[in-house]
């Protein structure tokens, strides 16, 4: 229900204030939204010859995020970014957003305002309209659920299941930095590592954790030009998400460890922390980059597209028959089974 429902008496007035706040924040409502917030449900015009792409995602305090290390602004941003990334991974264009919140009494109006600010910051570049929401009190922590609806030309959505043996495996951007940023925000690292890292590197890694960039334009182009055969976004970490893609496509993969796109900042962090940059790239979650496969004949087109959009795209391996399994080749050329380690979000 878009608004003002299932609401405790004392919070009702506050909620009216929220709705106005949200409406202001999200600015003018596109003409295709016949009815946004404020009725039993939102009404939006459905375009013909288009499919809709829909995703929902729940974030629980102290499971997916900690308010000790995450600001409300960042929380709103990341919640939206995770869903935008899901739509991007289908090749869809994000269009409409709904948000449901369970709010503990410890939160202030300004906390919530900052949360919406972050949400809006992530959505604005993509002209996403907020069409519905629900707020309630919570006796426990903060919970938020975002539902995002996108559009795509009929039949063009890129599934996880379309990869074929012989396809090239590509990834956008650079990997592992979000994980490094999370480590820098946590308490496990020694002071020496923190002090040894240049402020610019530190800022970059933390920025990549707090403000990942969902690759919406890249996803749209890969789908609309029929370049990608399968696609998934990296939220669990490269090894885990590659395993999902292989499983859904019923194929294997050979990953080239030395080809992983690693930033200089990540390499310097890994050297200081005594860990492997490649392992951070393989196991670190929440990069929100796109992992996709394509026929070798489209390689030049994808490289061109990356340059056009100014998003690095890197060939990191190729797809194999299922019986091959998932293997990695190290810099000396020897093969071993790829260890699949699923990223654990904040716990």
């Amino acid at each position: 229900m878009p608004a003002r429902r299932r609401q405790q008496g004392p919070r009702r007035l506050e909620e009216f204030a929220f709705i106005n706040l949200i409406k202001r924040r999200f600015g003018r409502v596109p003409r295709r939204v016949a009815m946004g917030i404020g009725d039993d449900a939102a009404v939006v015009r459905g375009p013909s010859t288009r499919d809709w792409v829909v995703t929902t995602d729940l974030l629980a305090e102290d499971v997916h995020f900690s308010l000790d290390t995450t600001s409300f602004d960042d929380l709103g941003y990341k919640a939206a970014a995770a869903n935008l990334s899901d739509i991007a991974a289908m090749g869809g264009s994000p269009t409409y957003l709904l948000i449901a919140l369970a709010i503990p009494t410890t939160l202030s109006q300004s906390d919530l305002s900052r949360l919406y600010q972050g949400l809006h910051r992530a959505c604005r570049p993509h002209h996403v309209a907020l069409i519905g929401g629900d707020t309630s009190s919570s006796r426990a922590g903060l919970f938020l659920t975002i539902t995002l609806i996108g559009e795509i030309a009929r039949g063009r959505a890129v599934l996880r299941s379309g990869a074929r043996p012989g396809d090239l495996l590509y990834v956008s951007g650079t990997l592992g930095e979000s994980q490094a940023g999370l480590m820098l925000l946590g308490k496990a690292l020694t002071r020496g590592i923190r002090r040894g890292l240049a402020p610019a590197d530190r800022a970059r890694l933390i920025g990549r954790h707090r403000r990942p960039t969902p690759r919406v334009a890249l996803g749209e182009a890969l789908a609309s030009r029929r370049l990608a055969t399968a696609m998934i976004d990296l939220s669990d970490g490269l090894s885990g998400d590659l395993a999902h893609l292989c499983e859904e496509s019923r194929v294997g993969a050979l990953l080239d460890r030395s080809a992983l796109p690693l930033s200089p900042a990540l390499r310097r962090f890994a050297a200081l922390a005594g860990s492997s940059a490649e392992s951070l790239a393989l196991q670190g979650g929440e990069d929100y980059e796109l992992l996709f496969t394509l026929s070798p004949r489209h390689e030049a087109a994808v490289q061109r597209l990356g340059r056009q959009l100014r998003v690095p795209v890197t060939n990191i391996g190729r797809m194999m028959p299922a019986r091959f399994g998932m293997k990695e080749r190290d810099r000396h050329g020897s093969l071993k089974d790829l260890a699949v380690t699923s990223y654990r979000h904040f716990t």
Copy 2:
């Protein structure tokens, strides 16, 4: 995200089991669902010349429900029913459902199975397809968010804002029974009242609380035949929801207290409890009946429609200019201001 994401390691296996469970439970996926659960997002065919109606609703343990008085089956049913009712109140046809859950470790697989069973029970009559979900652990209570997408012929959605002075005010079904059922489930009533009530009455009132019937077919018909000028579903209670409708339509209302549709079971309960059946009808929430307005020239058509669908429809007043405010007429014909009491869900 429809599935298998943002998941803690230890729960991952369980979640695979859930997905299979859900898939089995919801049976065959309609052809229009190009991709349901199991990718980054669901993909559904968008019909042309139709609008979509979208609603989202979050339920928090110990705020909206208590597991002391609600079974998992009933919880699933009611969560779905509340959203179905929102779509009904726009005149839409519910089509696709997404569910996001935060699950405390105290819940068992069979608790969740029952929750989905209830969800499915509510959705099945309306051929709603489950297209996405997200599950996560919760360190606090159980939280669930449902997002429901419906369709309607372009421009036919019935908003809260369309009522005009002179329109008749109608309501479906009977009122106040859900509140009475909730009272029977709680601890505040004396043993004398519980014992005095016939088992059949008790069963009816509790049934109306646990298993409300969303008025989907009635809502669809009122919209498609252009009979209703404004519509809202009753979740906060008649007086509160009428206030919303008046506010959005910028009109007043004169309510005929003696015309309120009250069941014999409710009257007997009220007599035993020493409360007024009319007050229960005005203030009790979660009836999930439809409150709607229409031009007097459509009265016969609406009465006919009610008989066709076997849903009682009752004229309980008429809309007035805004300056009139909201008043009720008692059985002696005297007017007084209508007290707006918003229903407090379980607290």
